[in-house]
Structures are given as C-alpha cells and as structure tokens.
C-alpha cells in the first residue's frame, strides 16, 4: 500500500497533464464538426482516393458528415496519445529504479518483487483510469455539444469508451514486458512514442493495403473506432489477440522481473 501511494504521488503531475491534454485535443477537433456536417463536405471527401481515407481510419459506411463518422475519425487520433501515455508508464515504472539508481533503496526493503510490480502496476493503472475517465467525460460532452443537431446513438459511443481500459492495458503491459527483458531503456519517451505511433502506422497501413497481417499485431485495429461505431460491438475476431498479448506480457513481466539481476553501478 505504501508503494502504491508513493507511486501515485510520483505520477500526480503526469496525470494532470494527460487528463488535460487528451480531452482538450478531442474537444478542439470535435468543435469543428458543425462546420463539417454539410453535404458539401461529403462531396469533398468523396474526391479523395479510398486508400487515403482508410489511412485516416475513415469508414465509407460512416461519412464524416455524420457525427459518429466524425467522432470515429477524431477518436482514432486521440488513441495515439492514450497509447503513448500507457506505454510511457509501462516502460517507466519498473525500469526507473535502475535508471535512476534507486533500485538499491526499494529492492532491499522487506518486500517481494511481485508486490513491488503489482503495486506499481496498480498505481499506473489508477492514473490511466483517471485519464480515461476525463476522456469519457470529454467525449460525451463534446459529442453532445457539437453534434450539430444530429441524433447520436449513445450506445455505440459507450461501447467505444469501454475499450479504453483494454487499449491502455495493452500498451502498459507490452511496455513493461519489454522493460524487463532488455538490459536498459535509454530513453523512455522515445520508445513509448515509437510504440504508440508505430503501431498506429501499422494499423493504418493494414487498412490502406487491406492486409489482415498488419491488423493482427496492433490494438489500433483491434479497437478501431470505425468498426465499433458502425457495428456497435467489439471486433471479437481481433480483440482476443489483444487479450492474449496482455496476459502474456503480464506473465512475462512477472517471470523476468522476479529473476532480474540488479547490477551495481
């Protein structure tokens, strides 16, 4: 419990920044919707090649002149900072003790490594949940405010919002796993941006090239807003892959972290 509180305290500032930035990002973009909702806009978008539209996560069944279509596009973008934040925590929480050389303090205390891992993970998940909550509020608020008079199918929006926690879990657990197998993470920020943006590009390429192989490895495809907002349900043919990866990453983190040698300086 003491580690949990301590870790949460360390993340305070980060929680504040992310829970301001991501909702603001969403609200900013969604506020343009009333201007986009005209038929003229659809005509403009129809000019673009299909691959181009696909790259930005637009589904032909869901035109941007429809509020859900616009949310789908915008949400696809705020998934990137969500992924970056979650991977950042994943790469950071365990490796920081070694990088900042505080492992000799924490790991020599009378507490097992499993408990350290669990406490740190819970603290990070709490932070992500707080940010997640602010994103939900901003999404509902923004959609309600800027829907341009259209009726919104709230059910599908809630399904979309419910994916956040798994989306975040994917990145935090993969980040954590990588941090326990490599010797050292030189720069947490760059690797988390790499993972967050890299997998986004993979997903976009997959859609553009209509290739399933790409979709298999990236949670951006597993939890694609363009699918959920049309179908109103998870894309189960892909989502289970995320669940498997999360489980394996957590198990792997446990396995390697509890066997890791913390070398002296």
């Amino acid at each position: 419990m003491n580690i949990y509180k301590f870790e949460l305290g360390m993340l305070k500032r980060s929680i504040l920044i992310w829970s301001l930035a991501i909702p603001a990002f969403f609200l900013f973009y969604v506020s343009f919707f009333p201007m986009m909702s005209g038929e003229d806009m659809n005509a403009i978008f129809e000019q673009f090649p299909e691959e181009f539209m696909a790259f930005f996560g637009m589904n032909p069944d869901l035109p941007v002149s429809n509020i859900l279509g616009y949310v789908s596009l915008t949400y696809g973008m705020i998934q990137i900072p969500m992924a970056i934040q979650a991977s950042n925590y994943g790469f950071h929480i365990l490796s920081v003790e070694e990088r900042e050389l505080t492992a000799d303090f924490l790991l020599t205390k009378p507490i097992s490594r499993v408990k350290i891992l669990v406490a740190k993970l819970l603290a990070a998940m709490t932070s992500l949940t707080i940010v997640n909550f602010t994103i939900c509020v901003a999404t509902i608020l923004g959609t309600a405010l800027f829907r341009g008079g259209q009726t919104v199918n709230w059910g599908v929006i809630f399904v979309l919002l419910s994916t956040n926690i798994f989306f975040q879990l994917f990145f935090i657990s993969v980040g954590m796993f990588i941090s326990t197998v490599v010797k050292k993470i030189p720069s947490v920020l760059s690797v988390s941006m790499g993972l967050g943006i890299g997998l986004y590009i993979v997903s976009s390429l997959g859609t553009m090239l209509s290739s399933t192989v790409f979709h298999i490895i990236t949670p951006y495809s597993h939890f694609a807003p363009s699918y959920i907002l049309v179908e109103g349900t998870y894309n189960w043919s892909l989502v289970w892959i995320s669940f498997v990866i999360i489980t394996l990453s957590l198990a792997g983190s446990y396995f390697f972290y509890t066997r890791r040698n913390i070398a002296s300086l």
Binding site: N2, E100, P110, S112, R259, S264, L265
Partner: protein
C-alpha cells in the same frame, strides 16, 4: 550462532565471473570486514545477500534462512548502506526517511529523528540539493532507522569527512554493542582495521584468506625506520628482516623476531631518529595482491 553463511556461492554474468565458491561464516555480534580491490567481487557477493542478484549456484543463508527464498523476511532485519547513494531526487529528506520506515512493521520514528540528529542531517531539504556527503548521511539514517540485526555496509565512507566518518564508526560500534552484526566491505584497509574483528580477503572473485585481525597484528612484523648517516651498508641483512630498503640517510624494513638483534646493530650506528611502528594492514596484506 552464525548470522551469515555462504555456501559455495558462485555468480557468473554470462561468461564473466562475479564471484566463485564464496564460503565463509559471520558470527552473531561480529564486525566482519570484507576486503578487496575494486572489481574483486565484493558488491556481487553483497548483492546476492539482498537478492538484488541471483546466484548462479550455491547459496547464502542469513539468520538461518535462505536469502533468496525468504528474501522479504530476511531483509526486514537487514540495514543496507550502498556505496553510491541515489534517492528520489524531488523528495524531501524527511519524506524519504518516512517512506523508508513505512516498509518495516515497527515504529521507527523516534530512532529516525535520533539518528538524523547524531548525523547532523537537515530533514527539510530536498534530496537533489544535497551534497554527496549529505546524501551519504541520508543513507546511513535510512539504513539504521529500523534497528536492524544485520548491518551491511558497502564501502560506506566515501564522501564523508573525517569527523563524520568517526561519528559514523561510533554509531556502528554502538549498534554492534547492542547486538547488531556488521558486514563491512571496503577497499580501505585502515577503516577495517579500526572497526573489525575478522576479515575476509577477496581477490578475483574468490576468498583467498580469512584472518583474525587482532591475532594477525600481534603475530606479525614491526616496521622499523632509521634515519642517520652512512646507512646503506647492508648491516640489517639478518634473518627475520624483509622488505629492506636502504639509502645513505634512511633504512626501512619489516622485522619479525627478537628485537634485541636489531637494537644491537642499531647501537653501532650514528642515528638521528628511530621510528618503530605497527605495520598497517595494507602492508601486511600487500603480498596477497602481488
């Protein structure tokens, strides 16, 4: 009763040897020195005791329990002071110490303030603003605040001024007299000489000798230095003399045997000064590292 027992402890990092077949026992209430040059394997050995490092083979038992298997339980009675001190920079000293105390199932508050006062530590400052020596003091307080039964010191004195060093040694002696066992690792032999009862010497990852400091010093050489004129005539080349170095104005050597022999020779000389010293452990141990 033995507080620490190493049983053929071996650690390889890939092909690189950390330590090999470490075998020694530290008795309860002892101040045990652990001596070796940098890179000899001292830290590797110590880190396995704290399960920071997992042994390749062999084991170490602390308070009769395996240090890896019963890690958390064993560590609740260990106070550890690492050689290089790093803490969460943005914290205040007091908060860090309280965080440290929160890991132990006893109230450490009183002892914490007491130690901070002894070490003249300003609790209100941020860790990042502290000098190396002050960080070291934080380390000492956090290592001792839970009144551990086993104190492990890994080159603890770097960064402390001589006055603080004496206070620190005093503190360790007090803890020891109250029943704590101490493992003191160092490459500075005079420190160990000042504090320890027995000492293990490690070289290239292996223990090469375990010595009783008092017995060893009684049993060994005296160091003679003569100053005067025309001294480089080899008069002191007698049995029992070693490490003889002579110039016209000065002769130094170690001698083990009947000192009257030396006095007889010295009586024939024209001297300005005589110095007879206990050799330092450094000098005694030198041949282990040659």
């Amino acid at each position: 009763m033995n507080v620490i027992e190493f049983n053929n402890l071996t650690k390889y990092y890939g092909d690189v040897k950390g330590c090999k077949n470490i075998n020694f026992k530290v008795k309860q209430g002892e101040i045990f020195g652990f001596i070796g040059p940098n890179g000899a394997g001292k830290s590797t050995t110590i880190r396995t005791m704290l399960s920071l490092i997992y042994p390749t083979s062999g084991s170490v038992t602390i308070f009769g329990k395996d240090a890896i298997e019963f890690g958390p339980e064993v560590r609740s009675e260990i106070g550890y002071l690492p050689s290089e001190i790093f803490y969460y920079d943005k914290m205040k000293v007091e908060d860090l110490l309280k965080y440290s105390a929160s890991f132990y199932d006893r109230d450490c508050t009183e002892r914490m303030y007491e130690l901070a006062e002894i070490m003249e530590l300003d609790l209100t400052r941020k860790i990042q603003d502290l000098s190396l020596g002050n960080k070291k003091k934080v380390g000492i307080v956090q290592g001792l605040l839970h009144s551990p039964k086993l104190i492990i010191l890994d080159e603890p004195t770097s960064g402390l001024d001589p006055l603080m060093q004496q206070k620190f040694f005093q503190l360790i002696k007090e803890e020891n007299s109250m029943g704590a066992t101490v493992l003191f690792s160092s490459h500075i032999l005079s420190e160990v000489q000042q504090l320890c009862d027995r000492v293990a010497i490690i070289k290239d990852g292996e223990i090469i000798s375990i010595q009783d400091i008092k017995a060893m010093k009684e049993d060994t050489y005296k160091k003679f230095t003569f100053n005067g004129e025309n001294l480089n005539d080899g008069k002191f080349k007698i049995e029992g003399v070693s490490n003889l170095s002579q110039t016209n104005s000065q002769v130094t050597f170690f001698f083990k045997g009947d000192v009257n022999e030396i006095i007889k020779i010295a009586a024939q000389l024209k001297l300005k000064d005589i110095l007879v010293e206990e050799p330092t452990l450094e000098e005694i141990f030198m041949h282990y590292y040659e």
